[in-house]
């Protein structure tokens, strides 16, 4: 079982080599917010802290975000080595297949929920065609729905995604607009006991509930969320 940690560029600015050491890989970016795509400088900074495998995490993308992701993929491809990219956008998946043979797409949590619904014969053939060896997940329900999928699963904890908006509560703008990353790496607890028995946790533009690492046999990698 591989062990990994995921962090956004803002969290990277506070990370130390000790927090990252001992991991088989490090995820950098975000599956939920376009403004948390890392820059080339962020990738260099991560490499100065950590010498292992880096996985680029990407969210749903606007045209502007897709161009930013394309630039990142170009930079990563220049190293002439295969690299993994978490993909939550059909357009990016298509782009990788067309232009970036060194990029290995991992289906992200937003798309995993969707593809888990698909006919598994189609899904397996689709993943083969697009060179997808694994998907990201964070719930037992998704794992159950993936029954019949031949690839591996990477499981995220200790928070399970439950909702996302593109209208950011920090900037009061759609998150395809530039922002100063005011959300930082904060996890904000939200409660309404009459509506939800358990609290929600807001991180940036996404909402989560707590989960635990799963021991499902399909899981080949555990991905811990970086938290201060």
């Amino acid at each position: 079982m591989e062990k990994s940690i995921s962090l956004s560029p803002w969290e990277l600015s506070r990370a130390t080599p000790e927090r990252l050491s001992g991991r088989d890989c490090v995820y950098l970016g975000s599956e939920f917010c376009e403004n948390k795509l890392p820059s080339a400088a962020d990738l260099r900074k991560l490499r100065s802290l950590y010498s292992g495998k880096v996985v680029l995490a990407t969210p749903l993308l606007s045209n502007r975000g897709l161009e930013a992701a394309r630039a990142l993929l170009r930079g990563l491809s220049a190293r002439k080595r295969k690299f993994e990219v978490v993909v939550n956008d059909w357009g990016l998946l298509r782009l990788i297949k067309k232009d970036f043979p060194l990029a290995v797409p991992l289906i992200g949590r937003l798309l995993t929920w969707e593809i888990a619904e698909m006919d598994k014969k189609f899904l397996n053939a689709f993943c083969k065609e697009y060179g997808v060896p694994a998907v990201e997940a964070d719930s037992e329900e998704t794992l159950a729905r993936l029954k019949g999928f031949r690839g591996a699963v990477h499981f995220h904890y200790p928070l399970r995604f439950v909702s996302v908006t593109r209208f950011c509560s920090f900037t009061k703008a759609f998150n395809s607009a530039p922002c100063a990353r005011a959300c930082k790496g904060d996890t904000i607890k939200l409660t309404n006991p009459k509506a939800l028995p358990e609290p929600l946790y807001m991180r940036g533009n996404a909402y989560f509930v707590p989960n635990r690492p799963s021991r499902h046999r399909s899981i080949k990698r555990l991905v811990e969320l970086y938290q201060d």
């Binding site: 749903l60 619904e117 909702s163 904000i188 909402y207």
Partner: protein, 292 residues
């Protein structure tokens, strides 16, 4: 800009078509779509009656198949759509790439609309689905005009459709929201106080509401979508038909203003007078269909 309206019955189809809708769409209970069974038609024969109603006026009818379809249902779905196509159905609304790929493999050509649930936010995603045979794209509710130009003026011949953001907006991405929701739950709708995304939450910093843009932003979005050349304005199926009818007439009024070439300033002035959250009909998710 034409108006397309979701309906739950023949009577609703009659109402909206006679009130100015250019198209209606509906679901059928045994085919996977984004509404509860009780909000769907029960048989192809009922859909045929809607087609027979719309066709003489040159109006169109579409079928929603906008959820993922199980492989064992592919053949029957194809058979159903082929039969209804022959009867005059104008097209189908889908989101499942696997189903689109199956239709392509079977050389079944039809007017396919990509559902808003597919979250097409960029030109690459549009190309991905265009390769699978779509003819129209419903822009995601959280796709705003400033990001949509490349999708609206695409070179693929794909038409575009939008919701009226000033009157209908998803606080979170609706296909990616797993919060408890009265509109998608089989549980009795009366047990929900409201949509979870509209409720107040407590946080360390005080009361928190899940964010959404202000009314002026949304009115500007309606204006800009119209100017950008979006072809269709959508009024979705709602459980509470009176609320839906209210929304339809307000959307139609806005559209009339836009078609007259009203200035942005005047459109905002008029738009601000429209109550976008009517309460007199009850909650939007309470099933209150027209009788009959």
């Amino acid at each position: 800009m034409k108006m397309t309206v979701g309906v739950k019955s023949l009577r609703e189809a009659m109402y909206f078509l006679s009130a100015g809708a250019d198209e209606v769409y509906c679901g059928i209970a045994r085919v996977s779509n984004n509404r509860l069974a009780r909000e769907n038609f029960s048989s192809p024969a009922e859909i045929r009656r809607v087609i027979a109603l719309a066709a003489p006026a040159g109006k169109k009818v579409f079928l929603a198949v906008n959820e993922f379809v199980k492989e064992e249902d592919y053949t029957s779905t194809l058979r159903l759509l082929a039969g209804l196509k022959e009867a005059g159905l104008a097209g189908a609304i889908l989101r499942d790439p696997a189903l689109l790929a199956y239709f392509k493999k079977k050389k079944f050509r039809f007017y396919f609309t990509l559902s808003t649930l597919a979250n097409c936010f960029n030109a690459g995603t549009l190309r991905f689905f265009a390769d699978l045979g779509i003819s129209r794209l419903v822009l995601p509710m959280q796709m705003m005009p400033e990001n949509a130009a490349g999708l609206i003026k695409n070179r693929l011949g794909v038409e575009t459709e939008v919701f009226c953001p000033a009157l209908y907006y998803g606080v979170n991405l609706d296909s990616q929201c797993y919060l408890p929701c009265p509109q998608t739950s089989e549980a009795a709708s009366g047990s929900f106080r409201d949509f979870t995304c509209l409720l107040p939450f407590r946080s360390k910093a005080g009361t928190f509401h899940m964010p959404m843009p202000g009314p002026d932003y949304m009115l500007n979005a309606v204006y800009d979508f119209h100017r950008a050349g979006v072809g269709y304005l959508k009024v979705a199926r709602w459980p509470n038909t009176l609320r839906q009818a209210d929304l339809f007439h307000k959307a139609r009024y806005m559209l009339k203003l836009l078609e007259k070439g009203i200035s942005r300033k005047l459109f905002l002035h008029e738009g601000r007078k429209i109550d976008s959250k009517p309460l007199e009909y009850g909650k939007s998710f309470t099933l209150k269909p027209f009788a009959g």
